[in-house]
Symmetry: C2
Amino acid sequence: MTKISRALASASRDARHFALANCIRALAMDGVEAAKSGHPGAPMGMADAATVLWTRHLKFDPSCPDWPDRDRFVLSNGHASMMLYALLHLTGFEDMTLDQLKAFRQWGSITAGHPEYGHAAGVEITTGPLGQGLAGAVGMAMAERSLAAAFGADLVDHRTWVFCGDGCLMEGISQEAISLAGHLRLEKLTVLYDDNGISIDGSTDKAFTEDVGKRFEAAGWHVIACDGHDPDALDKAMRAAKAETGRPTLIRMKTVIGLGAPNRANHESAHGAPLGPDERALARAALSLDGEDFVLPETALAEWQILGGRGAAARKDWQDRLAAAPADMRAEFLRRQRGEMPEALAPTVAQARAALFDVPQAVATRKASQIALTTLAEAVPEIIGGSADLTHSNLTRVPAVDSDFQPGQPGGRYVSYGVREFGMAAAMNGMAAHGGIIPYGGAFLIFSDYARNAIRMAALMQLGTIFVMTHDSIGLGEDGPTHQPVEHLASLRAIPGLSVFRPADAVETLECWELAIRSRKAPSLLALSRQAVPQLREAGPDNLSARGAYILRSHGTGRDVTLLATGTEVSLAVQAAERLHEQGIAATVVSMPSWERFDAQPADYRADVLGDAPRIAVEAASRFGWTRYVASEDDVIGLDGFGASAPADVLYQKFGITEAAIVARARLLHDNRTSS
Amino acid sequence: MTKISRALASASRDARHFALANCIRALAMDGVEAAKSGHPGAPMGMADAATVLWTRHLKFDPSCPDWPDRDRFVLSNGHASMMLYALLHLTGFEDMTLDQLKAFRQWGSITAGHPEYGHAAGVEITTGPLGQGLAGAVGMAMAERSLAAAFGADLVDHRTWVFCGDGCLMEGISQEAISLAGHLRLEKLTVLYDDNGISIDGSTDKAFTEDVGKRFEAAGWHVIACDGHDPDALDKAMRAAKAETGRPTLIRMKTVIGLGAPNRANHESAHGAPLGPDERALARAALSLDGEDFVLPETALAEWQILGGRGAAARKDWQDRLAAAPADMRAEFLRRQRGEMPEALAPTVAQARAALFDVPQAVATRKASQIALTTLAEAVPEIIGGSADLTHSNLTRVPAVDSDFQPGQPGGRYVSYGVREFGMAAAMNGMAAHGGIIPYGGAFLIFSDYARNAIRMAALMQLGTIFVMTHDSIGLGEDGPTHQPVEHLASLRAIPGLSVFRPADAVETLECWELAIRSRKAPSLLALSRQAVPQLREAGPDNLSARGAYILRSHGTGRDVTLLATGTEVSLAVQAAERLHEQGIAATVVSMPSWERFDAQPADYRADVLGDAPRIAVEAASRFGWTRYVASEDDVIGLDGFGASAPADVLYQKFGITEAAIVARARLLHDNRTSS
């Protein structure tokens, strides 16, 4: 018996199961064929496992897709999207109509090439960039544990199920996620590994010969191997996963990619292209399917609908429990689910502002961040902090979160993510997508590179993840160019939908933190300094950072020159403006903590702030991008290349980011203008 | 006996060894103290292993640091830089003077905070961003195997030794590297893991509790555990590593961070800050060191010098073997080592150009890349290709490299890197740093995010790594926004020293490939399309892409408007220019395959190309950064947000990247100008 015929025998042993699973196979084939692109192989290979999971184990209710205590289902190998869409359709998610399946991968449909969070109900997280679904699922399981500690098992007691493929496990982020999940003993997390031995370039023997089960065991996981087409074996494995305590579970399912397609099964040609009409006809015959495209057997369809209703009772029970919960707990639970801010936030911010105006803080903005967080994290209990092993550098641990989130300590509010920036960022996205949690995590700004695609994914998903990135320029000094961000501000500003904040002092840092916490539908990244800055802001009630940029200082009457600056360079611009004023040149200093917020302001506000006078930008970073606001890169007091290893003040001098350079450029622009 | 006293007992059992190792400890303490910053803990903990390796096993000759057949030493935990500098000084590398050690982390010294390739002889690769040293070492071991296959063991037979810490192994890239190395059975690769149980945030128990040995075994490694302070145990382990065939070796060394510092050893406070004068004095006493800072016992110093000369004879033997090698082999070996191009390259390029002008190719630029590579890889035998499991999409496999680099096939020229973009990029950097190899590797442009810091490191190290990134815009279509690069061109252009090429047609693609291959001191990234483009260029001998941008088409007399475009949008600009010409507006089309190269041209050339007329930029990507060349982002026909899942032509229409949009904007600018 060949591998394929063995698999078919397993899948078809139980006729009822086979009929259900083949609905997924048929829709995957038909959807991809209609789209003329897509990935039929993985859905066809995983259809048996998906059927067993969704009809016997997954806790969900299509009539209430947002039920907070539903199990989370993550398709980490997101290219198998048609499997998920098929499942949503078959089990009765209202928005996943047959027309949507027919419009797979077309403009305006909710059935994108890869599952996109926010498009269709039941898509828990956007997947496609491999490995990140798995890491996001780790975050979801962490969120569940944290919320269960806060609200009890009556309200929070659900599991996270992940499908993943070889690609996910080859990506390094999977190891970060696996290692963290094993360390945290996330027993309600189950990964179903579609071990089909085929990747895009052919047999995985070409590049991926490790012992995956042993690797998971080394990370503290419970590992089960099973026939990925045998419904009884799959059911048994999922039961074992649910019975396991103290360890997450890997179910290593031996599968055949494209099972059902007689000539393409077990071959890379089944992976990423339509089967074509002939092969599809043969597959339909092999799977006892007949009829037109997108037409499925009535009995199977009816059974899917019934099975889709399997969770409604549990959901109603849960709603009864919620109704019976103490009123304040219920209110708090629902507030968090809605992503609304606690009432305490506004007065807390006001108090913290007042404290800064009473006793100004001349500190590094990372220290200012610590000061801000100290009160904000107290006021917002859903905040869960952490760092990628740089707690004492990022200053991310404050009293309110000074409790470890560790095995046996589910109520802890601080996560030791380890040196795993990418895994941390993706896990935070999972927490944010889960709901009920506001995650922040610290790293050096330079290592935003490691986490970059997860930062992008937060923006694409419109999640309120908060990235706390310290040591934000050559100002970090001696560690040298490997650790000095130069192009990072530009490259992060280029990510659509991400708010990059670079506050100038303790007041702006508080303001930016408030904005980040309130921003529940867009991620925020705070770029914070290692080195100290004076407090520049004077008393006033308004969060000026909310406008992205504002006039911080004006000297003299009129405006001869405008100095745009961010972060640690704002105080430098202020000094330069004073020198210029002494020299009879009226310089206005604009502090610009967030380009994105500034660009979203009304045109007249932007025009007022930018003014008509020549403009100079000052930022200890690449000049790249600043020509959005200044006439030429020559008007940017910034860097052209990498930094160097030396004390920070030496570097500022050597790279010419100095008061003298600002003054000289301002004089030149002013003189040119006056003489023209 | 405590962990610390046990370790000290091991380290001091052999007085001669202890005296040698303590020279490293002393210099690390003193260097960090003088710099007032740095990392004494890791050098002090690894000093015993480093001493055994450098005095008994590592093959090197300080009098000839670039000896091609030397062993490669990689300090993946680069923050332990003082250990490496101490070793270079002690063994007699001429440029590593005591003054350099005293100038640790100061402007202009060769002793940067983290080891930087190109600064000091003996620094084989820049390290600091964790995990990348290990991945680079995998590339070095691959390069060695490849060159040994080409030139034989007489000329190429060396090992790669890596030190790494917990941080390296927590980073996901380490798993990519480990898995690939195990798969490839890189038996000459040995990793010495500084298992000290301490990371920056404290005990690794907080976040890193996996069984590291088992994880390596799962990846096919030979694993040895040993006391990291016992010289005999270390020596035995290194011998075992050298004796092993068929598997790379992990030596898991149980160590004590900061060994010798009585109050800070085995504590995170030893990691990243000077010990301070009191603790240092106590440490000096504990290590039987006396005298002033930077002063070491004469006998130990003398012995280090002798041991540093240990490899000179082997090096001379090797030189004799080189001299005795067949003349053509010797010449070829030396040519490759010098990074010079083979003579065949120029005529091959000329021929390939002629072929394109004879039979124009209207193909996707990824296909054009395949055409170019087909001849170029034939002419340049040191090219080693590969892909991160996207060979058929990247079109990176051409006949000249159509042989697998696999265990037992060391002469293969194509690497199946697996779905490991970051590991691939870092390994390629290792190959390039090793010398004798020109590596290229393919991925989707979107996943440059995953590899980003390695791309940056290639630029920082000035290595000629070539990144082949296809599916370079929304033009990839249905896979959707998770797979559509938008901000990537901008964010890559922001990396100093990286040449980003986005060729417009088959001719430019050939030109850019030639430039990338010839660029041996700077990395190149080719952004290539999924979708077809016409061939735009007419016959001519010059590589116009070498100037970064050039006038491709002029219509009418004079210039009313200039259209700047890259890649697939150049043909769109050409069409728009024709429409404008019909409407009486003279449009000049500038093709701009590389900003970096264009910006390096003389001012008059740049002025000629850019012209005085209003300028419009056309690129199916974020507008970010284009204001370097155009007046406002409104003059960029580009994107503001993410892409979407739909056929490419639909996306271009929906996002307004169309001939009509270019024409409309050009008319507006032209009319404004005429009326003003």
